[in-house]
């Protein structure tokens, strides 16, 4: 009798840990749908999907980094740099506009990865340094932000950000496709298993003969490339390389990843969770906009409070698991 109850309680506890964000998302959507007639309108849904897609691409890379037990603070700067490089490169056509930001941002990610994996420096410090480095590079090529590179109208590159299918923008499909692929890589490839093992017990992973260093280099490179790509797509959508975007984006990305159930200590997490985290954040933002009278800054307050709740929950679940009750 008690055994059944214990098992039941444990099952529910585990469910909250894993699906807490999903439950919160469903509740938020239901409440918003019933309270605000405009919330469920096709236009609003399309807007939300588009807004969420850029963050989702950045957060996908962050998910991998956090699962290895690391953190990437440079994504915001790299994202902005990617946008500016794409706009700058668009004068030479579609290929340069896409390849230039991916290559440069990938190199910054590679630098992060090599420093973290080979020198054993703390990811926090390494990526804080490259955050400054990327931001500085951006300011240098835009004459301290005074030059804004525009993407010529009629350029094929614009399509990447502005094209639509069924009214939904291309970025939405790009983000979905990347997250699907990311989920598959994490769950169903040796590299993905290696990512989970590295974050779960690094020393053991080394002793088991897993390529721990290579795995770290790869996840940071991935994070750089994905952030650069998100920046490029943003530039295509905005039709120019905006220099002031992406400040604080790293914190948004980290928070949606953690809200989605990825352990900040590494070793466990899902891409689906991150997507749900992005969804939750986007919906909260939208609802606050719908209320209208509420200062949009309260959106951060709500996200912050929710993040706290999730972290506290993760912590108590971990303690309970350790106690084995």
């Amino acid at each position: 009798m008690t055994a059944v109850r214990v098992r039941l309680r444990r099952g529910i506890g585990r469910g909250i840990g894993r699906q807490g964000a999903a439950v919160a998302l469903v509740v938020m959507v239901l409440v918003a749908w019933l309270s605000f007639p405009r919330f469920g309108s096709p236009d609003n849904l399309r807007d939300m999907a588009l807004q969420g897609s850029f963050l989702a691409i950045v957060a996908l890379g962050m998910t991998f980094v956090i699962i290895t037990g690391g953190i990437d603070l440079s994504v915001g700067s790299v994202y902005a740099l990617g946008g500016v490089l794409a706009a700058y490169g668009s004068q030479w056509g579609f290929v340069v506009a896409l390849v230039l930001p991916l290559a440069v941002c990938g190199l910054i990610g590679l630098l992060n990865g090599v420093l973290v994996a080979r020198t054993g420096m703390a990811p926090f410090i390494v990526t804080l340094a490259t955050l400054l480095l990327a931001r500085g590079l951006l300011l240098a090529i835009t004459s301290e932000g005074s030059t804004t590179y525009r993407i010529a109208s009629g350029s094929a590159f614009l399509e990447l950000g502005r094209g639509t299918v069924f009214g939904f923008g291309y970025p939405v499909f790009l983000a979905l496709a990347l997250c699907l692929a990311g989920g598959l890589v994490l769950r169903r490839t040796r590299f993905g298993q290696s990512v989970l093992a590295t974050g779960g017990a690094e020393q053991s992973a080394v002793l088991m003969g897993l390529p721990v260093a290579r795995t770290k280099v790869l996840v940071y490179t991935m994070s750089g490339v994905l952030s650069g790509f998100a920046g490029a797509v943003t530039a295509a959508y905005l039709e120019s390389g905006v220099t002031v975007i992406g400040v604080g984006l790293e914190l948004d990305a980290i928070s949606v990843v953690v809200i989605g159930g990825t352990l900040l200590t590494g070793g466990a997490g899902t891409v689906l969770g991150t997507v749900i985290g992005v969804g939750l954040r986007t919906v909260i933002q939208n609802v606050i906009n719908q209320i209208g009278t509420l200062d949009s800054n309260y959106q951060s307050v709500v996200s912050g409070a929710f993040l706290l709740l999730v972290v506290v929950l993760q912590r108590s679940l971990a303690t309970r698991a350790a106690r084995g009750t």
């Binding site: 490839t189 040796r190 017990a201 003969g209």
Partner: protein, 500 residues
């Protein structure tokens, strides 16, 4: 020779961990590798498995000189290792752990989960594991996790398997499974290097033995020809007569206990861990907790000091109830020397002095300012009294041997002037000499009037050291033994017969 080390030397900052050691393993033999802590066993294993590279000397694999730069190189060559601590990933599934790095894949290069799960279940049955292989590894008992590690090591096409104290976390039933696995490997012609302190095990399964002492090779030969006492004397470098005279442990016979219990724990119940354990200890008495791994020994100690949340039960110290938090218990005079030194005790990068005074800081300070002079006095006293071998009080604890680290911890709790001392495996993982010293110290403390609770998985230590034995099984007390009944047979039959 399937694997050989010739004249290997390895030095760590001024200490020669290996000094011209040669060691060889024949195909299909079970080769015991023994020595006290610090004899060089771990370093030798790490040289064999590519974790360390020798400063000089050679590793030969099937007669060919090889250089292993990392563990993966050795694994690829067919040399697998299972370590004393389970080196797997607790958050990942059992099957994933078994196959990490060599997962079966589908045509598209994706991990073939169905096949992985099926194969894992099939393999693990041979190791006595019938759990769902999709469960996270961390939810299995430690013994079962060790079995998964073993299965992993063996299934990797190994022809040499190195086992570093594989039975230290296994229950007797699991030890039997391990031995039957070793038997199977033996038949398949796989060589096994077996590191253990447990004589019974060595004599039961090993063909040959190599003894190391102080980083040097002392002896290699067939184990059956070597009397136990001879083996111990090779390890210790003491004469056989000396050992006979002083016995295996350093406890004296009896203590003079007070009449009234100082600490009385009643009906401690906590989830599935403890089901109504009652223990009382009188001043000057050493009470031993016996029982198998998982019987609730550690949990009882943790419950007494308030580190384990209780569903019910009380702990009375001198008639007054402890409130169930560690801080209050320590202030009231109860100290716990935890089992896991690394995780729960020493702070490796602090000095010996800092580690010792940590718990006593409130008593050594006035208005929040710590008196350095008083610290130095206290630290000096304990270094002398516990015979801690240090270059000075400012030496980093990380640089000390396991036995001396344990003494530093003991000193930490003693300088809070406790009335009750809870010792969880105080001599685990420290060498024989230091072990005797710690045992003698426990004796001395009890004679000074401390109430001591001693937890140990070594029966001899409990039988010699304790005045009274409380036998636990499945979180409940099954027997209490005093006087004449304090024998090995009584303990074993209590554990075997006791049902709760």
């Amino acid at each position: 020779m399937v694997l050989e080390v010739v004249d290997a030397t390895k030095e760590f900052v001024g200490v020669k961990a290996l000094d011209g050691v040669s060691f060889s393993v024949r195909p299909g033999e079970v080769h015991a590798l023994v020595g006290e802590n610090g004899a060089g066993k771990s370093t030798l294993i790490k040289v064999l498995t590519g974790v360390h590279r020798p400063d000089s000397g050679q590793v030969l694999h099937r007669g060919e000189p090889v250089e292993f730069h990392r563990p993966l190189d050795a694994q690829r060559a067919g040399i697998s290792t299972i370590y004393q601590e389970v080196n797997l990933v607790p958050l990942m599934s059992v099957a994933a752990n078994l196959f990490l790095g060599r997962e079966p894949r589908t045509r598209f290069g994706l991990v073939d989960r169905a096949r992985m799960h099926a194969e894992a279940a099939e393999v693990l049955v041979g190791y006595g594991i019938h759990d769902d292989v999709r469960r996270p590894l961390g939810t299995l008992a430690v013994g079962a996790q060790q079995m998964v590690a073993l299965a992993r090591a063996v299934s990797a096409d190994a022809h040499v398997v190195i086992m570093d104290e594989p039975t230290s976390s296994l229950e007797p039933r699991e030890v039997e499974t391990l031995f039957s696995v070793i038997e199977r490997l033996h038949e398949r012609g796989i060589a096994i290097v077996y590191v253990s302190h447990r004589m019974d095990e060595l004599y039961r399964i090993c063909d040959r033995v190599t003894v190391l002492r102080d980083g040097r090779h002392v002896h290699t030969g067939p184990l059956a020809d070597l009397p136990r006492i001879e083996l111990v004397s090779l390890m210790l470098g003491r004469s056989v007569g000396d050992i006979r005279e002083h016995g295996a442990t350093a406890f004296s016979e009896e203590h003079h206990a007070g009449a009234e219990p100082l600490l009385r724990a009643e009906d401690l119940t906590s989830g599935r861990r403890l089901a109504g354990v009652s223990v009382s200890i009188r001043p000057g008495e050493v009470v031993g907790l016996a029982g198998l791994l998982g019987s609730g020994r550690t949990e009882t100690a943790r419950a007494i000091i308030g580190a384990l949340p209780l569903d019910s039960g009380t702990v009375l110290l001198g008639g007054k109830a402890l409130r169930g938090n560690v801080g209050a218990a320590v202030r009231a005079g109860v100290s716990l020397l935890a089992e896991d030194r690394k995780a729960e005790g020493i702070i490796p990068n602090l000095s010996v002095r800092e580690n010792i005074v940590l718990a006593a800081l409130p008593r050594l300070s006035r208005f929040g300012v710590v008196s350095r002079a008083r610290q130095d006095r206290v630290v000096e006293t304990f270094i002398r009294r516990l015979r801690i071998k240090v270059s000075g009080p400012e030496q980093k604890v990380a640089e000390l041997s396991g036995g001396n680290q344990q003494k530093v911890l003991l000193a930490r709790w003693l300088c809070t002037q406790p009335k009750v001392l809870l010792l969880d495996e105080p001599t685990r993982g420290i060498d024989v000499g230091a072990k005797a010293e710690v045992q003698a110290l426990i004796d001395e403390l009890a004679r000074d009037g401390l109430a001591v609770l001693l937890i140990s998985s070594e029966l001899e230590e409990l039988l010699d050291g304790a005045d009274r034995l409380v036998v636990l099984k499945d979180g409940a007390v099954v027997s209490e033994l005093v006087g004449d009944r304090l024998t090995r047979d009584h303990v074993l039959s209590a554990i075997a017969a006791g049902e709760s």
